[in-house]
């Protein structure tokens, strides 16, 4: 971080939002530090969007505070020059062109007029800038939403599920863009219900579930504290399980081996190579072997708990909020 301009911290403290009896966000506290990309993770309905909207002053908290550089969003002298937010890609008037849309908010935020052309070019929208947005694809809308967030060249960026509705190519593009923005020294908070979508670009994570904090801190630290596992598919599962728990001098011994519902084994306390070598030495067949990161395990468990009962994997990465509309 040396030499980079430091963006402000985002400070969330005791944040709570109640809708009737439902606590969408429940006594949530965490800090987002400048200069790195922070992943804001949790299953659908965990309260990520509500939290982000409370940070941005769009939703009033029932109690608690959220500040950016020590001030509430509404009290920032030039909010859109400090914070940019991508919350809802479809939030654009269908009759406006991308250029109109950007000029409206550029005028509102008091940003220079040439920012519009600059961003249209940077986000690959120059060709379609004068078409009404009703003709836009999801990817183009997502780019326009990002351009709107970047109008004031903010040092802090909040992105709510920006990968939703993007094809793999679009997601790769988004990753490259966010990496670039972080490399410029900005603070980036990006929410996702799919860990793998952000894993490559985040340094810190904040994991929430049912509105409550589950884990927060540098990804590497959390992964160290929740060690990885190895998932093995083998037709000789019972023999392999026994062999892993017996262990060998060369490959070591497993702390624990769970037999999963689908017949595969989850191995704790051994590296993937050691598991494969041990199986080979014991002449046991291995049909598949997957190393699972600790955080991913944690995350899969969280996602699985929410109604996916028994399936130890995240639900399909569909945009539930878009479907609700």
């Amino acid at each position: 971080m040396s030499g980079r301009p430091q963006g402000p911290h985002i400070e969330v403290s005791g944040l709570t939002k109640r809708y009737g009896a439902v606590r969408a966000v429940d006594d949530l506290s965490f800090t987002v530090r400048p200069g790195v990309v922070t992943g804001f993770l949790g299953p659908n309905g965990a309260g990520k969007s509500t939290t982000m909207r409370m940070i941005l002053g769009l939703v009033a908290p029932t109690s608690g505070t959220a500040t950016i550089g020590g001030r509430r969003y509404v009290d920032l002298p030039r909010p859109s020059a400090t914070v940019g937010a991508v919350l809802d890609a479809s939030a654009v008037h269908p009759g406006h062109s991308a250029r109109d849309h950007l000029h409206i908010y550029r005028t509102m935020g008091g940003h220079p007029a040439d920012r519009v052309d600059e961003l249209l070019t940077r986000l690959g929208l120059a060709e379609v800038a004068d078409r009404p947005t009703r003709t836009f694809s999801t990817g183009m809308r997502q780019r326009l939403s990002l351009a709107t967030a970047l109008l004031g060249d903010p040092r802090v960026l909040l992105l709510d599920e920006p990968g939703n509705g993007l094809d793999p190519e679009g997601i790769a593009w988004l990753r490259a863009l966010l990496r670039g923005l972080a490399a410029e020294g900005r603070t980036v908070l990006i929410s996702s219900h799919v860990l793998s979508e952000v894993q490559q670009i985040v340094e810190d994570v904040v994991v929430i579930r049912k509105g409550r904090l589950v884990a927060a801190g540098p990804l590497a630290e959390i992964e160290r504290s929740s060690p990885g596992t190895v998932l093995v598919r083998s037709p000789d599962a019972a023999e392999l399980r026994a062999a892993l728990l017996r262990g060998t001098a060369r490959d070591g011994v497993a702390d624990r081996v769970d037999l999963m519902a689908d017949g595969s084994l989850r191995v704790y306390g051994m590296a993937d190579r050691a598991v494969a070598d041990l199986a080979a030495a014991e002449r046991l067949r291995v049909h598949g072997l997957t190393a699972e990161a600790g955080l991913e395990r944690l995350f899969l468990r969280l996602a699985g708990d929410d109604g996916a009962g028994g399936h130890d994997r995240p639900r399909a990465a569909t945009d539930e909020k878009a479907a609700r509309r």
């Binding site: 939030a91 008037h93 009759g95 005028t107 509102m108 935020g109």
Partner: protein
């Protein structure tokens, strides 16, 4: 603040809406008044006093006040379109002091409503003077007086635009807001009149205030005729104008205060 007003003008002019509104103003102003002038109130069914009388001129020009529903409907779009297309998120992110956003919308829509009113009455004046010249009728009112009479509906259009903005800020659902505003202006006020006693309040309702401002008391007169009661006394034009301005103020106040605490999803 200035930036927000500019942004609202930019937002307004980015769609085809102003074009349609101008077209409507020309059709309802020049078109309607022109047609009625050419036909002549004495040829209406039932016949009305001719244009060579003051009552005849008033009845033709007064028809303009029946079109207040249009600027009122356009005014409701100021906020409801933000919620319908969910651009309220961007708007309140770029201008988190929502009071200022609403104030900027009131200013922009007030100006737009006044422009609408001026086009409406301007084309109406042109059509009226053109029409009487073609027919060789000497109007029963001096030209200066006719123009003075036409300024009033122009102002009324601006006020109704503001009433629309306020209604849209209160009722965020676009179709619901449109239905309430147009429904009230078309039927609501007349239905209210049927309740015994309520008609005494008519001069104090927006419609009554508009009638006293524009000097066109068609509704009150019809009501008196149909209900076989004495005519409902309207306020003076200045009183009507003040009352209407009061409604606009209350509407603006409501529009500015209501969205403050509402969550934007």
């Amino acid at each position: 603040m200035n930036a927000l007003v500019k942004a609202e003008f930019r937002r307004l002019s980015a769609t085809r809406l102003p074009l349609w509104a101008l077209l409507a103003a020309v059709v309802l102003g020049g078109g309607m008044v022109g047609a009625m002038t050419l036909v002549g109130p004495e040829n209406f069914d039932p016949p009305a006093p001719g244009l060579d009388t003051e009552a005849g001129v008033r009845s033709v020009l007064g028809m303009l006040s029946f079109t207040v529903f249009l600027p009122a409907a356009l005014g409701t779009l100021a906020m409801t379109s933000e919620y319908r297309h969910r651009t309220a998120t961007h708007t309140f992110l770029h201008a988190p002091r929502r009071r200022r956003v609403l104030t900027a919308k009131l200013v922009a829509y007030g100006v737009a409503g006044l422009l609408y009113g001026l086009v409406l009455t301007g084309t109406a004046a042109a059509a009226f003077f053109g029409g009487v010249a073609v027919r060789g009728v000497t109007p029963g009112m001096a030209s200066g007086e006719v123009l003075g009479l036409l300024v009033r509906p122009a102002v009324a259009m601006a006020v109704y635009t503001l009433l629309g903005v306020a209604a849209g800020a209160l009722i965020r659902h676009q179709v619901a807001a449109l239905a309430v505003v147009v429904g009230y202006l078309y039927a609501g006020e007349y239905l209210l009149m049927m309740i015994p006693g309520v008609k005494l309040l008519y001069p104090l309702l927006p419609g009554g205030a508009t009638a006293s401002l524009t000097g066109f008391s068609y509704v009150a007169d019809t009501m008196a005729a149909e209900l076989a009661t004495g005519p409902v006394p309207l306020l003076s034009p200045v009183g009507g104008a003040l009352l209407l301005a009061g409604y606009a103020l209350v509407a603006a106040f409501v529009a500015v205060l209501v969205p403050m605490r509402r969550d934007v999803h």
